[in-house]
Structures are given as structure tokens and as C-alpha cells.
Symmetry: C2
Subunit: 466 residues, 2 copies
């Protein structure tokens, strides 16, 4: 046992320090692409223990990688160096009392998102962050990656939902930024900086989160639309006419529908005819007095009368609503079960979605003729999960993965969008980032990283080259 391992076991006790085979379940990312064998896994039970672990690692010059639910799609939560320490926040999962007047709650970083949902929904409140991994993703990881998800159009990303935080810095010092107010201009917006830093500037241990009143009504529709520009135009109309109420504006295409229906059990398609594109619209309101169904029906009628919407169904029950959402949510699973895939997490201004899809298709066809393109995602914020399956009869993409990522990322950048919309950079997108972002932008990040973590022990090799 190294002296650092012995020291960490001393700090954390036997249940707080896992090594050898016990550490194995934490060692690799869930796509099984990244993760060197760590020295061990530290499982602190308190901020004080996190602080001691970080200070010991700093002293020993050993890297620390914080890990939440380990659902990163970019390899951000496993060690890039053999002998690094993984810091799992799972034991720190306390949920504090709701402050109803402020609309806030304090939680520890290891709290699983779905558990927080249940906790606050029992009190007629919501924490409006929803994404596929919510059954395992933890608050600390969601903050570290600045998670987005399907409600970001209305409620913002994680950076918009965190009003205060506690962070253990690279030397073990604890920054107490647990303020519980929206307005705090006493200097730099540090909590915004730590949000999205993927554990490279410090380890978030607790956070004050914003809550919203639970909806008293929901109205959900699945619509068919003939092409992407019509989809965008209809979305723009909805945002003008039902702006306050839109809590979901999700799209997918017919290839994605086909894959989901073929591969995933228990899926039902509620419309009479197939169409190039589909739009899931969900309106919610916390007022009992809003004629929400009529508003959605009215919008649907407008769309049908002017030919934008070719078919549509309103959810008449909770079960139907869930079935509509499954069509969207099982898009990744349908594609995964089809075989090899390439995932790209792009965002472009919604008005440029049509350009992105048409130019993107040309780019893809140029790189690998016949490659099948399955774009789906969040219309309201222009976030496209632009996923590829091999051409019919093919089983892989040859050596073209990098070319796809670079060309599609460059196209998104040209359209004032982002090549890394909501999944972060992790380890997997650093080379891409260095290719696509300006040296000025990278240097700014390098300067900030060097200032806050001079020994480069905080999750090195994530966000920036290690």
C-alpha cells in the first residue's frame, strides 16, 4: 500500500476507502472507453473528509477525479492517470429542508436526481432538471457538467438552477458559497464558473438549488410535420403564442422513430401516418385557471389549418403522455440497439437548424456515402443529438469518427452554435475542442485553471489537456 493510500484509509475508515477489486466498478466510464486503474476510490462522508482527502492528494501530487453517477458520455468521471484517486460523492446524499418562501433547497452533491425529484414533488414543488440518466446522475455531476436536458428552454441549465454552492478547492480549502439568493453581485460569479468546470477547478460538495411550483395542469401533444424548416417555424409560432407554458419542445425524425419501434419493447405510435419529422409539445402551468388544453388545441388547429402540422394527437391520459415521451426518450436506446453509432452533441440557433441538417447531410454523405443520420433533440434551444448509424449493409464507420466530429463541429461553430452543447468536453472532446475553439479561448481557460489549481491535480486531462 502506498503511503497516500494508507493516509486516505486512515482519514476515511474502511468503508470510505476502496482499493483493488472493490475499486473496479468505479474505474471505467459507462461507455467503457476511458479509465486507468486508480489508486483507489475515496468515499468521504462529509465536506471535512473531502477537504482532508484533497489536501492529502495535493501534498502527494496525485490527481483527483470526482465521480457522481458515472454516466458521463465523455469520460469525464474516471481517472486518466494510473494511480489517480477517484472521489465518489455517493455517501454525501443528504437532502435539506425546503425553503418554500425562497423556492430553494440545500442538497449534498451525491444526491441522485430522481430522489430529489421525488422528495420535492411530495411537497408540491419541482426541480425542473430532466434527462435520461436521472435515475443515477448525481447533483454534483450535474453541476460539474452543467447539465441541460429537456426542460432547459423554460427553466435553464444547471447553472441557472444553482444559486449557491460549497466547493473544496485544490489545496483542500473549503469555499462556502452557500448563499440562497438569486441576486449576489459581491464580486466574480464564482458559482457560475464552477458549474460546468467538470471537477477541474474544485469539488462541489453541497448546493442550494432553485425549486418551482408543481404544475397543476399539463397538456401534451405529438405532432407530425413535413420538414425541418416547418418544424422550426411552427416552434417559433408556439414560443410566441404559448411562451410561458412550454416545458417541452422535443423533436425526432422518422429514422429515429423506426429504430425505436423496431428495437425497444412496448413502444406505440399514436398517429395515423408517418412523416419526416415529429414534435412533442408539452405545456404546463401552476395555475388552475388557465385553459391549457384549449391553448394547445388552438395551437394545433392553427398548425393544421396552415398546413404546418399534417397529423397530431393530444394525450388523453397520464399513460398516453408517458407513451408520447417514451417515443422521444427511447431514441438513444433504439439507436444503440441498431449497432455501431457515432454521437454528436451539437447546438445551433433554432433558425439555423434547417441549414445545419441540410449542410450536415452533405458533409456526412461526403465522408461516408449512405451513412444514416438520426437527428433528435431539443427544438427550443437548438440542441441536436446528431447521431449516425452505418450505411445499410455496413457495421462500422471505418476510421471516419474523427472526421465526422470535426466537420460537424466546425459546421455548428460557423452557424454560431456549439460542438459541445450539453454533455461537456470530458476526456473525449479535448482534441476536438483544441481543433475548433480559438487559441484565445483555450488560453483563457488554461490561465484560469493554472491560477486555481496550480499543481494540476483536479481532474487533469478533462476540459483541457492534462
Amino acid at each position: 500500500m502506498t503511503s497516500l493510500a494508507a493516509e486516505l484509509e486512515q482519514i476515511l475508515g474502511p468503508k470510505g476507502w476502496l482499493a483493488g477489486d472493490d475499486a473496479a466498478p468505479y474505474s471505467r466510464d459507462w461507455l467503457n472507453r476511458y479509465g486507468e486503474t486508480p489508486l483507489g476510490v475515496a468515499r468521504p462522508g462529509s465536506t471535512e473528509e473531502v477537504s482532508q482527502v484533497v489536501a492529502a492528494c495535493q501534498e502527494a501530487g496525485v490527481s483527483i477525479t470526482p465521480q457522481g453517477g458515472n454516466t458521463s458520455l465523455c469520460g469525464g468521471a474516471v481517472s486518466g492517470r494510473s494511480g489517480g484517486v477517484i472521489l465518489s460523492l455517493s455517501r454525501m446524499n443528504a437532502i435539506g429542508d425546503v425553503d418554500r418562501a425562497a423556492g430553494t433547497i440545500v442538497v449534498e452533491a451525491g444526491t441522485v436526481l430522481a430522489r430529489l425529484h421525488d422528495h420535492v414533488e411530495a411537497q408540491d414543488l419541482i426541480f425542473p432538471m430532466h434527462l435520461g440518466a436521472e435515475g443515477s446522475a448525481q447533483i454534483g455531476g450535474l453541476i460539474g457538467t452543467n447539465a441541460g436536458g429537456s426542460h432547459a428552454l423554460r427553466y435553464g441549465m444547471m447553472q441557472d438552477l444553482v444559486v449557491g454552492m460549497e466547493v473544496v478547492l485544490a489545496d483542500g480549502t473549503v469555499w462556502d458559497g452557500l448563499r440562497a439568493v438569486q441576486k449576489d453581485n459581491a464580486g466574480y460569479q464564482l458559482r457560475r464558473l464552477f458549474c460546468g468546470a467538470e471537477g477541474t477547478l474544485g469539488i462541489v460538495t453541497r448546493a442550494v438549488l432553485k425549486l418551482y411550483p408543481a404544475p397543476k395542469q399539463k397538456a401534451t401533444a405529438l405532432l407530425a410535420l413535413p420538414d425541418i424548416q416547418t418544424l422550426v417555424d411552427y416552434g417559433t409560432y408556439l414560443r410566441g403564442d404559448a411562451g410561458e407554458f412550454i416545458s417541452g419542445l422535443e423533436f425526432f425524425c422518422d429514422l429515429g422513430l423506426d429504430l425505436a419501434l423496431r428495437h425497444v419493447d412496448g413502444m406505440e405510435f399514436p398517429l395515423e401516418s408517418r412523416s419526416p419529422f415529429y414534435l412533442l409539445v408539452e405545456l404546463t402551468t401552476s395555475s388552475a385557471m388557465v385553459p391549457l388544453d384549449e391553448i394547445l388545441e388552438g395551437a394545433l388547429t392553427v398548425g393544421m389549418e396552415n398546413g404546418q402540422v399534417t397529423d397530431g394527437a393530444l394525450a388523453m391520459s397520464e399513460a398516453q403522455r408517458a407513451a408520447f415521451w417514451r417515443l422521444r426518450e427511447e431514441q438513444p436506446e433504439g439507436q444503440r440497439l441498431e449497432g455501431a453509432q457515432l454521437k454528436h452533441d451539437i447546438s445551433v440557433p433554432p433558425g439555423k437548424l434547417a441549414s445545419f441538417l441540410s449542410e450536415g447531410a452533405e458533409v456526412c454523405e461526403g465522408i461516408l456515402p449512405g451513412v444514416r443520420i438520426n437527428p433528435f433533440g431539443h427544438l427550443g434551444d437548438g440542441n441536436v443529438h446528431y447521431n449516425l448509424s452505418p450505411a445499410d449493409g455496413q457495421t462500422d464507420f471505418g476510421d471516419k469518427a474523427k472526421e465526422f466530429a470535426e466537420e460537424l463541429g466546425a459546421l455548428a461553430s460557423r452557424l454560431q452554435g456549439s460542438f459541445a452543447a450539453e454533455h461537456g468536453l470530458g476526456r473525449s472532446k479535448i482534441a476536438l475542442a483544441d481543433h475548433l475553439r480559438s487559441a484565445t479561448e483555450r488560453d483563457l481557460m488554461v490561465q484560469i485553471k493554472a491560477a486555481v489549481d496550480p499543481k494540476q491535480i483536479m481532474n487533469p486531462g478533462v476540459v483541457l489537456k492534462g
Copy 2:
């Protein structure tokens, strides 16, 4: 003429460089408390000129203070050093095209807020930042100070309304962060860091701002309530029941009303009886189908039936709505005309407002018996402008200003709030900040500043000691 002045005049031409008497109008803050005589005022017409000015100042080791509308309440927009350069962005005031599908617009930093309002409102959109200085405040200054205002509860602060920006860094390099998407997780959230940095990390030259659909309906009420706790409780009820629609939730007290009615011309009080506290509620919706008046009337009836609301009036015309808002907006003017004043820009979680006001009153009475307290502000986010007038028969506060600021700031901090809610630190609150914020927090900011502006030429003496 110094060689730097000659160089700047060469770069900017005669209308771009003001010195001597021509520079005087830019030299002092509008409360006339700060501002050393500058070398001159640079008025660049383009980002390229800003870049050249900054590079020249960097080379000469001369400080640069960006100035927008010069309405800072904290002395943040004038030079702290004799011979520093003031950089006025006023000539850079171009407004770009609206991107309706994305709900965004690109503007130059010198654009005056009210002009932007007019521009987008003519296209049935709003830019939802409203504050007293909107007739002169510029976008760059609003970003630099992370402005809040009266609509922050619903739409957020400036950091929530900026999706992309262009910044000239300390060495003159231009960072092009003019992306137009909500979701951009390609590394650290730099735009959030520059927002609120008060020009100490770089100079914002252009920004991509979020727009929202213009309301199709508004409903406004002025209510009387017996005490602060009832006000908070009623606000909590409103946020649950009319959550989506609340775009204003502003409070003031009877002393503030009295000062406004006595000192400001043309004020009318629409209720039958006076009361310790008043609440201005404004609901807006972009849907034509919401029964907005009924929702507000219903909420008012609930409040009256359970004794929370003792009197109330609904605005029946645009003129009445404007008259209600004037009662709130002229609070600062009423107090200013009363004579000497001390202003404190505090925020606390709304549920702790009652504690803050009762403990704050004890603190103030202990420091200077009889001092008159006039709290008003934004109920939804707990932002209290906690202003003091001298006791009856007194004309000043003796030497107690610092003690008031420190004690009230410490009280806000204990309640998980902020001693600098929406006005920033500027020059006037640095000593207070060093007294109230932790060394850990200050050191983080110092490290970031040193990394990004190693020669300390960007607005030194603002946010952090110069």
C-alpha cells in the same frame, strides 16, 4: 501630451479622443464621489479600435476603465488613478437584426437600454431588463455589473440574458464568444465570468442577448398589507398560484410612500387607507387565451378573505398602471429629496426578510437612535434597498456610515444573503467586501484576476483592491 495620449489620438482620430475639459464630463461618477482626473477619454468606434487602445495602454502600463452610461452607484465606471484612460463605448451602439426563431439579437456594448427596448418592442418582442437608469444605462455596463432590476424573478439577471459575447482582453486580444445558443458546454462558462466582473477582466464590446415574446396582456394591482411577514407569505402564495405570470413583485413601506408623495410631483395614492407595507403585483402573459384579470382578481380575493390584504386596487388603464409603478419607482427620488441618505443594496432569502427587517431595525437603532428606515425592493428575489434617512431633526449620520454598512451586511450574510445584491462592488464596497467575504473567496477572485490581467491594468481598484 504624453506619448500614450498621442498614440491614442492617432488610433482614434480627433472625435475618438477627448482630453482636458472635453474629458471632464466623464471623469466623475454621478453621485460625485469618485473619479481621479484621467489622461483622457477614448471613444472607439469599433472592436478593432478598442483592441488597439487596450494594447497601447497595456504597453504603457496605464489603467483602463470602461464606462457605459456612468450610472454606477458604486463608483465602478470612473478612474481610480490620476492619468488612467476612460474607455467610453458610447459610439459603439449598433443594434443587429432580431433572430426571431432563436429569440436573440446582437448589440454593441454602447447601446442604451431604453433604445434597445424600443427597437425590439416595435417587433413584438421584449428584452426584459428594467431598472431606474434604463434611459442612460448601456448594455456593456449592464453586463459588467450583472444588472438585476425589477423583472429578475421571472427573467433572471443580466448573466441569464446574455448568451454570447465578444470581449477585448487585457493584452488587446479579442475573444469571440458570440455564440447564439443557450447550450454551450465547450469548457468553462467564460461569458458568465465576464458578466459581473465590472470591466476588471476584459471589456465587453458586443453581446448576443435573449429576447422574449411581448406580452399580449398585463394585469397590475397595488395592495396594502399589515406587516412584512404577511407580505412574504402572500408573495409565496402568489408564486405558487400565478407563478408563470408574475413579472413584477415589488414592495415598499409607508415611510417610503410618504417621502415620495411629499417630494415628487404628480404622485397619486390610489388606495383608501394607508398601511405599513404595499405590494405592487404585475402579471403578464404572451397568450391571448389566459384570463389574466380574473387570475389577479382571484388572488386578490383570496388575500382579502384570509386577512392578508387589507386594501387593493387593480389598474384599469395604462395610465393607472404607470401611476402604480411610479409609486415604487420614485422611492429613491423621494428619499434623495428628503436630504442625507445611506443606501444599502442587500438581498436575503425571501423567507428571512422579516428577520432581516426586525433585526436590522435593532441594529440601526443601536447605532443611531431614531434613524429612519426605508426598505423597498424586489420581494421575489429578496432584494431590499435598505435606505436610511437621519432621525427627525437631524441632517446627517455623523461618522456612522461604515458601521451601518458593516453591521447590515454582516446580518445579510448570516441570513445566507448578500451585502451586494445588484449594484456590484465598484470602488465603494471593496473595504466592506474585504470585511465580509471570506479570505478564501477573495483569494479565488485575486487569483483569477491575476491570471487574466497580470499587469493589473483593467479597471484596477474595482471589485478587488487595486
